[in-house]
């Protein structure tokens, strides 16, 4: 049975005769044929499907990472800008507020001064009037007192039985009132 030799050779070689199945050249053609088939299949699967797909995924990921970093930097710049704008607005508002406060204060001061002046003038006018009225009243009173004194003196003289001389009475009352 010549056909058996190949298969039997390996078993016998290991069991009895020194030899390596690797050096059994009768099946080299078979091994090399299947190796080439395998390599061609792997090569086509890799070069047509697997490698382009992985390359695309890796490139896409790289692109996404680059984009995200650029976006983040842009956003950071925007944030800095916004902060600057905010600070500027704050400073402006503060200056405006101070200006308005000062203006209002000055206006109020002016109004106050005007009102005070007006009030002072009114008070001064009223005071003068009052003083005049008081002086009038006082003059009237003095005149009334003189008249009452003269009348009283004349009555007293008459009551005491004398003859009241108007000239003397006037002189006497005036002299008394001076003293």
């Amino acid at each position: 049975m010549a056909k058996e030799t190949t298969a039997a050779h390996g078993t016998e070689a290991a069991a009895s005769a020194p030899g390596m199945p690797q050096l059994d050249f009768s099946n080299w053609g078979n091994q090399i044929f299947w190796l080439l088939v395998t390599l061609v299949v792997i090569y086509f699967v890799l070069s047509r499907i697997a490698l382009p797909r992985i390359a695309a995924v890796l490139a896409e990921r790289q692109g996404t990472i680059t984009n995200d970093i650029a976006k983040a930097e842009e956003l950071k710049a925007k944030a800095v800008e916004a902060e600057e704008a905010y600070n500027k607005a704050l400073a402006d508002a503060r200056a405006e507020a101070q200006r308005i406060a000062a203006e209002t204060k000055a206006e109020m001061q002016a109004e106050l001064d005007a009102a005070t002046a007006k009030a002072d003038a009114e008070i001064a006018g009223k005071l003068a009037e009052s003083e005049k009225a008081i002086a009038e009243i006082r003059a009237n009173a003095v005149a009334s007192v003189e008249a009452v004194a003269k009348d009283t003196a004349a009555e007293l003289i008459t009551a005491l039985g004398g003859e009241a001389d108007a000239k003397d009475v006037d002189a006497a009352v005036a002299a008394r009132m001076k003293g």
Partner: protein, 252 residues
């Protein structure tokens, strides 16, 4: 090793460290023609299935944030792509699918071979010599197509003294033609030796006295073999890149 096994067999121990490498037809029959479906076919097909699972099925979602399986595919891609770019140069990137094919086939064949009772396709010189010759022929062809006759400058060490150059040229020429030999024997030799040693230790496990030591040794060897499986694939790939660099930039 065979004589060792022979001797031990007489003492009651059975060693068949090389049986695991026998090529057998899968569907009966004894004759192996070039087209016969054998265990070689089966384990190469499984390697193809595993590669498709990792590189095609694993990446099918094209996720921006990769899943675990997609990460592995991307990692393998990045690893080999960077190796090709760093070692062979930017203009070697168009050979990347070719080198990726070699790497993935060897790495999966090695790791599938570590499954107990499996068949290791890369332990056969037929396979590794074919792989190495493919690289050798490709690299030589690329060298001549890219550089024309100036590719021969690779063998003419212009920085050496003139008198030495012919001698160096002969040495360079020999080393160039030895490349596929070392390239292939290194891979098959490492894989085969490790598997055979594990089998020998497994044979010793039949003796009750030494079996704990034997099992420990198998475990340790297995760990080493896992390392070797990856390192040999890596070495084969990086040497391919180095040879490719010589072909693309033959000046020393």
């Amino acid at each position: 090793m065979a004589s060792e096994a022979h001797g031990a067999e007489e003492g009651g121990l059975v060693f068949h460290p090389m049986d695991q490498f026998i090529v057998k037809p899968l569907f009966g029959g004894d004759e192996i023609a070039w087209y016969t479906i054998t265990n070689v076919t089966l384990w190469m097909a499984l390697a193809v299935v595993a590669i498709i699972a990792m590189m095609v099925v694993g990446t099918s979602r094209r996720a921006m944030i990769p899943s675990r399986s997609q990460s592995i595919g991307e990692l393998a891609y990045g690893f080999i792509y960077k190796m090709v770019e760093d070692v062979a140069g930017k203009d070697a990137v168009k050979f990347f699918p070719y080198i990726m094919t070699l790497f993935l086939f060897i790495v999966f064949a090695n790791f599938l071979g570590l499954i107990p009772m499996s068949f290791t396709t890369t332990s056969h010189f037929a396979v590794t010599i074919a792989l190495a010759l493919l690289v050798f022929v490709t690299v030589t062809a690329v060298g001549f197509i890219k550089n024309g006759m100036s590719f021969l400058g690779l063998f003419w060490v212009s920085s050496a003294p003139l008198a030495l150059r012919p001698i160096l040229a002969i040495i360079e020429l020999i080393s160039y033609f030895v490349r596929p030999v070392s390239h292939s024997i290194r891979l098959a030799g490492n894989v085969m030796a490790g598997h055979a040693v594990i089998k020998v230790f497994a044979g010793f496990a039949a003796l009750a006295v030494v079996s704990p030591v034997s099992i420990l040794a198998i475990t340790a060897m297995y760990g080493l073999e896992v390392l070797v499986a990856f390192i040999q694939a890596y070495v084969f790939t990086i040497l391919t890149c180095v040879y490719l660099k010589d072909a693309l930039h033959p000046s020393h």
